[in-house]
């Protein structure tokens, strides 16, 4: 059987509607992006734990695909999570993009793929 890829748990979680993070069983350090071992202690034992789904925008930019210009530009952002990690996401309400803005993750289907996107706290549903 093919070795389970290190990041599969994350996308399987997304497909179930859960935002997960790898947590080291030996020292409880969390890590993202996923790795086969804990960089803090070297252990390969880990569990997946749910994240709060909250965050803050550290930076954002407009992404236009270079050769698929018919696609809508996306507002890609770097999000700081209160748990102490960062994730790249894209903003569902780009008109509210601002550094320091509070966001919440919403697992959303985009182009046929479920992705962990974010919406600002003031962006409504």
């Amino acid at each position: 059987m093919q070795a389970r890829r290190d990041q599969d748990f994350f996308w399987e979680g997304i497909d179930r509607g859960e935002l997960l993070v790898q947590t080291c069983d030996a020292c409880d350090t969390i890590r993202h992006p996923p790795q086969p071992r804990c960089a803090a202690c070297g252990s390969d034992a880990w569990r997946a734990e749910p994240l709060s789904g909250e965050g803050t925008i550290l930076a954002f930019l407009e992404s236009v695909h270079p050769s698929r210009r018919d696609e809508e530009p996306r507002c890609v952002c770097l999000v700081e999570l209160p748990e102490g990690i960062r994730m790249v996401s894209s903003l569902l309400d780009p008109e509210n993009a601002a550094n320091g803005a509070a966001v919440r993750f919403e697992i959303t289907e985009y182009d046929g793929q479920k992705l962990p996107l974010v919406r600002t706290a003031g962006g409504g549903q």
């Binding site: 997304i14 993202h32 960089a39 930019l61 770097l78 992705l115």
Partner: protein, 389 residues
């Protein structure tokens, strides 16, 4: 952790440089470019092909050592190595060459890089369909091109310095002023104003405009690194200055990433570069104030201020002032990328900037800095200091 071993003892010299024409469509195979640059470097070094016994490049280069050996007819290769990635790490090749030569594993090492980056495999025009690929943490969220990938971590640095697109424009104007006077540069004879920069279209809004990007290029560049005593003897015969490699270092602190540099502890300065710089100053006994001329890896304009501060060419937090005062351009106190850099001359994945450092030490640059004796060849994750003898 043990103390840093002094790998390079300053006992090597760059004896040869070679480059092809830098074009947008070479119409040739990559190996023919690689072979031309290599042959020119060997000839420039005053050596025969049989003198070359080491081959070094970096992992992004696609020219195999053995294919190059066959293409130019090297009788026997005893040492090969690849530095990680390339680009910001391109100058690690000189550290590898020094390690090989100073340990007696090789006598004359050929460093090479060639590609058809504009006419064939453009880094900025990925031909994949993101939707048809497995999801991932960056591409699936909209970071598709190198410009987007880098701009996302450039932005926190720029914000922390209060730098805007206009500040990047002031910087690019200085780079283009150098390029305008360099006949090898793509932008030879074509300086720009701040207004030109601000009118160039957004590619990655609100960080990178068209003129903040390097010049995608077809071409090749190569170097010969030799033993210092051999280079000195040769220098005495030829009367040409010896270009000594005083130091070459690389640093990859945990958490830093060449491209997806979003997860390191602090996004507002380049810790990796500060580690490289500290090691270089320890190795060479020099300080930033003693650098006469620099090249800084500039795939995108924000890479320059990040490394400029990282190497201590100004204090942390003061690079905006240096740019606004024109310190990096012609007439400035810290001339940077006198060839025009990757933005103005060509994008040979960083190694054309190393060639400019060699020319500055030889006194043959198109924008020669008077009495330049010490050159810094800087990348974010590796750097080299050259001295004219």
């Amino acid at each position: 952790m043990s103390a840093l071993t002094k790998i390079a003892e300053g006992q090597t010299a760059i004896t040869g440089i070679g480059q092809t024409a830098y074009t947008k469509e070479s119409g040739r195979t990559v190996m023919s470019l690689c072979a031309e640059a290599s042959m020119k470097a060997i000839e420039d070094a005053g050596l025969e092909r049989g003198d070359i016994d080491g081959l070094i490049s970096f992992t992004m280069d696609t020219n195999s050592d053995h294919d190059l050996q066959s293409a130019i007819g090297l009788p026997l290769v005893r040492w090969t190595a690849k530095a990680p990635f390339g680009g910001e790490g391109a100058y690690a090749t000189f550290q590898l060459a020094a390690a090989a030569i100073e340990s007696g594993q090789a006598s004359n090492v050929l460093i090479f890089r060639a590609f058809n980056e504009r006419s064939e495999a453009r880094f900025g025009q990925p031909n994949f369909n993101p939707k048809a690929m497995p999801r991932d943490y960056h591409r699936s969220l909209g970071l598709v091109t190198p410009g987007q990938v880098y701009a996302m971590w450039h932005k926190p640095f720029l914000d922390a310095r209060g730098m805007t697109s206009e500040d990047l424009g002031l910087l690019v104007v200085q780079m283009r002023a150098w390029a305008a006077n360099n006949p090898d540069a793509w932008f030879y004879g074509r300086p720009i104003t701040l207004e030109d920069h601000q009118r160039s279209r957004w590619i990655v809004k609100p960080v990178l405009r068209l003129y903040d990007f390097c010049q995608e290029t077809d071409g090749g560049v190569a170097f010969v690194v030799s033993r210092l005593d051999q280079a000195r003897a040769q220098g005495q015969n030829s009367g040409r200055p010896v270009v000594r490699v005083l130091g070459a270092q690389q640093a990859w602190p945990l958490g830093e990433s060449m491209m997806y540099n979003y997860y390191k502890p602090n996004l507002t300065y380049a810790e990796d570069t500060e580690v490289v710089a500290k090691a270089l100053w320890e190795q060479t006994g020099l300080s930033p104030a003693e650098i006469d001329v620099s090249t800084i890896y500039d795939n995108f304009s924000p890479s320059i201020p990040i490394s400029y501060e990282g190497y201590g060419l100004c204090k942390r937090g003061e690079v905006r002032d240096a740019i606004r005062a024109g310190e990096l351009g012609p007439g400035g106190s810290t001339p940077v990328n006198t060839n025009g850099g990757l933005i103005g001359e060509a994008y040979l994945h960083g190694l054309n900037n190393a060639a400019e450092c060699v020319r500055q030490m030889r006194g043959t640059s198109a924008n020669q800095i008077e009495d330049a004796k010490i050159a810094l060849c800087a990348g974010r994750q590796c750097g080299m200091v050259l001295a004219r003898e």
